[in-house]
Amino acid sequence: MTMKVGSRQVDGVTIVDCSGRITLGEGSVILRDTVRDLLSKGNKKIVLNLGEVNYIDSSGIGELVSAFTTTKNQGGELKLLNLTKKVNDLLQITKLYTVFDVKDDETAAVKSFK
């Protein structure tokens, strides 16, 4: 299953609902283009909802890091929501869990933006 994304606005925060696989190739490119497009339009409060992401490889992890740093460098914030066990485990062993702001409740995630 390739990656699919859809975005929606909740109280000034853009929620990006991701599903499928974030892997080298199409999945990583879709994520990169989505975040860049949001930033170019001034949407700098971003939540990546990864609840339906069932697989991610090292390239996908790299894209999450890139999305995080790109958003931060443009004065925005990017948070992760609803990690599956697989993605959660990967972020734990790569120590990235401490880098990302990870939420498991959408309302709390939206309220957490300054």
């Binding site: 892997t23 080298l24 190739g25 490889d57 090292s58 390239s59 992890i61 790299g62 894209e63 890091v65 890139s66 995080f68 740093t69 697989k86 990967l90 062993i93 790569t94 120590k95 990235l96 880098v99």
Partner: protein, 150 residues
């Protein structure tokens, strides 16, 4: 494809399709050998990362260079070998992705993930390519050789 009773090997192009193909083969073989679900995921991800390195960093997508992928089931192990035809690699220059200065790098986690998921990871670079050997010990009912009990 060449195949013996407990060994199967494939010669694959240096393409993105090869990476997905390698992962799918690893998932199927690990499933057939009876590995538990979490270890199937680990094996398939390690093979995917190995295939990524072979296609991208080893062969650099060169159409005239091939990736060889082999699975061997011994009495106690699943042994996976991935060879590319690139220029080899300098093992001393592999960064530690957990170092604070590397945490926010967007690449460099593939070998780390392989080492996290497999029991043995051997990397043998040479001027004619790199050979990667991934070994997962068989802990379940297949340990000791399922064939021997038949």
């Amino acid at each position: 494809m060449a195949m013996t009773e407990q060994r199967v090997s494939y010669t694959l192009d240096s393409s993105l399709e090869t990476i997905d193909n390698a992962e799918e083969k690893a998932t199927r073989i690990a499933t057939e050998l009876g590995f538990p679900e979490d270890e199937i995921m680990q094996i398939s991800m390690a093979v995917r990362e190995g295939a990524v390195n072979a296609v991208l960093h080893g062969n650099a997508y060169a159409p005239d260079k091939k990736v060889t992928l082999a699975f061997e089931h011994t009495a106690n192990d699943l042994v996976i070998t991935i060879r590319d035809q690139g220029k080899g690699m300098d093992l001393s220059r592999i960064p530690n992705p957990l170092a604070p200065e590397n945490l926010l790098k967007t690449s460099g986690r593939g070998i780390f993930l392989m080492r996290s998921f497999m029991d043995v990871v051997e990397i043998r670079p040479s001027e004619t390519g790199t050979e990667l050997k991934l070994i997962k010990h068989v802990h379940g009912p297949t340990a000791g050789g399922k064939e021997a009990s038949q």
